[in-house]
Symmetry: C2
Subunit: 428 residues, 2 copies
Amino acid sequence: MDNVYLALDDAALAAEVDRLQADVDALAAKGLSLDMARGKPSREQVDLSRSMLDALDSGSCLEDQGQDAANYGVPDGLPSARALMASLMGVPASQVVVAGSSSLNLMFDCVAHGFVRGVRGAKPQCAQGPLRFLCPAPGYDRHFAVTEHFGFENVPVPMTPEGPDMDVVEGLVADPSVKGIWCVPKYQNPCGITYSDETVRRMAALRPAAPDFRVYWDNAYAVHNLYDEGDELLNIFDVLAGEGRDALVYEFASTSKVTFPGSGIAAVAASPADIADLKGSFAVERVCPDKMSQLMHVRSFPDVDAVRAHMARLAEVLRPRFELVERRLSEGLGETGCATWTTPRGGYFVSFEGPEGSASRIVELCRRTGVTLTGAGATWPGDDPRDSNIRIAPSYPTLEELDAALEVFCACARLVSAQLAAEARGLR
Amino acid sequence: MDNVYLALDDAALAAEVDRLQADVDALAAKGLSLDMARGKPSREQVDLSRSMLDALDSGSCLEDQGQDAANYGVPDGLPSARALMASLMGVPASQVVVAGSSSLNLMFDCVAHGFVRGVRGAKPQCAQGPLRFLCPAPGYDRHFAVTEHFGFENVPVPMTPEGPDMDVVEGLVADPSVKGIWCVPKYQNPCGITYSDETVRRMAALRPAAPDFRVYWDNAYAVHNLYDEGDELLNIFDVLAGEGRDALVYEFASTSKVTFPGSGIAAVAASPADIADLKGSFAVERVCPDKMSQLMHVRSFPDVDAVRAHMARLAEVLRPRFELVERRLSEGLGETGCATWTTPRGGYFVSFEGPEGSASRIVELCRRTGVTLTGAGATWPGDDPRDSNIRIAPSYPTLEELDAALEVFCACARLVSAQLAAEARGLR
């Protein structure tokens, strides 16, 4: 539907701005301090993982399939941990390294590998000319920060409801300075959409000009369904195998939003030749990963079914939050026609689109009204060209806090939308 | 004393070689399979840390000084973990970041910081000309591997009983392509010596030509004494403060050989300006460290005294091993005059010096006789110029295995020494 503020006559619009301002002022007077900024699980959700702390005690066997978890060695991760992460990702365990507590750190390590040592014998990227990396946007700010850190030019690629616009991607990979693309293929951050089979097939069929181009397939939300029936993501390694290709994709996953955030286990999967290549750098970086954390995880989650059963319990905590976002946004903004948003069936985020030029103003107004949001433009490499996208992260607050935060958000979004309409007419 | 084989006449020397060969053959016939290669704690020693696994269970409070260990956030590490590592290193907690399970990984990250982003606003080293790094040798192979990985030329610096030869170091840092030096200042790997006060003072007083030069002060064995009375290392940060300097040293420490090897907590300390600079890169690399591991550690080790008491128990396991090395080498080689070795009062290694040209042959002969040693030359960046140094790591085997391994080692060292004497005379 159309933006209702555009249809009002000047006097009515000016009155509406005043009325909406009064709404926001009334909310500001409450002195709220609420946070909808980060994809951080709630206390209630985290507490569901506490039983993991009973998995090991001083009397436990500290071996896993004959490997000693309590001493140096086993650089690729415990056998059971590799098997668990492999089945989460749908690849053979031999193609998986489990290391560290955060997949972001592994992604950084993989970018560093290409930059410092070079991918599969290619010249190190630090010694090549200008470097570019494709950033489907809106996307995840921490991804973009990694490639920016290494001096890459982050090139935005439009997101569609099916995934990145593959026409654009196919065009851009003809440039040999393009070395990779950031992807969150399932419950994408922040849109919440899952790449269509067609998108996965076209991604796997890419023929980049750069031999050291890799798809960074951050399957962060592989098992993070809100409903019994989750989105289905085509297994990109199966597609690659069908094409007879031995490279192209680095896939990442972690248990950070399965068990304790920040203290999970993380994994990277790649083709046999690629994983062997990555291990060359990993061997220099660390003696071995923290295998005691891995042991605690696999003792608690012996297989993927155990993970899925746990995720169903977490979904009971998350689902009402997402449903509250949908209800509140519909009630508060549905009639205004000035915004759209996504209704994901998993993951951690809702992507909000307001009128052009509204995002930074809504975020700033929310801040002054007591609600912290992800910074406007954070979902874009560089600036959001339309200044219209806001990432809503409903997982952390209690339902009551979330309700209050969404009331503020809707009031601010309405006011800014009306103000923009008024300003366009020179009324302010 | 002099090498006794050199004093034998030709016939006696040839007979001695035959006799020593027979000794080795007899040992080889035993079909041994023993490992003195890595500084890996024994099972007996690791088991002393098992009580740490009782520190947390599902009912535990998961906060530390008001910080939630069970969720994202607290990127510099839990307050108690920073305080613990700070007191181990003798620096303020505000100058410490605790992250990851391995200090080698933090060292890698710091080298990467200078290479990719640049130290304190200096041009990233990847965009500078040739790069050099100083490597006191014999030293730690994994250090050298890190700088080699980044394309640095590793420049050996002679080790003395007081630490690196500071005359040489002071000369080399006048070269602006020299960006750092690897140091293990206490119970140095592999010599086991502790830097003298004079060495520490001269290190702190360095005036390198490169503003982005840093001393990598890997205090890996800060509390790893074999005897009640340990070596004393001057606190380099105190010396720097006395000189009014706000940079120069990155110090590293971990609990990897305090608790579970590979699953400890690791820390880096630096001046306030340097640590702020490092955090700029760390923030891109990871969302936060594994704080559950940190919480487990600080609940088990609330302060340095608790760590020291624990280390005294570990020393009871390690000390007999080191004393066995000293006794076996004295008995087996003391009369031959063909070798010297160190007798450290802490740490994990004994450094052995055989005749020139003997190290690679002794290591290979040991291998064929059933004993794995650290590769000859591993203690050198590039090749050991005299091919005389071997690192002995007595911590992992049982006393019985160590005894058998040392018998093989001494027999092989004798035979190779006699063979070299014979060959020098053209007898072979």
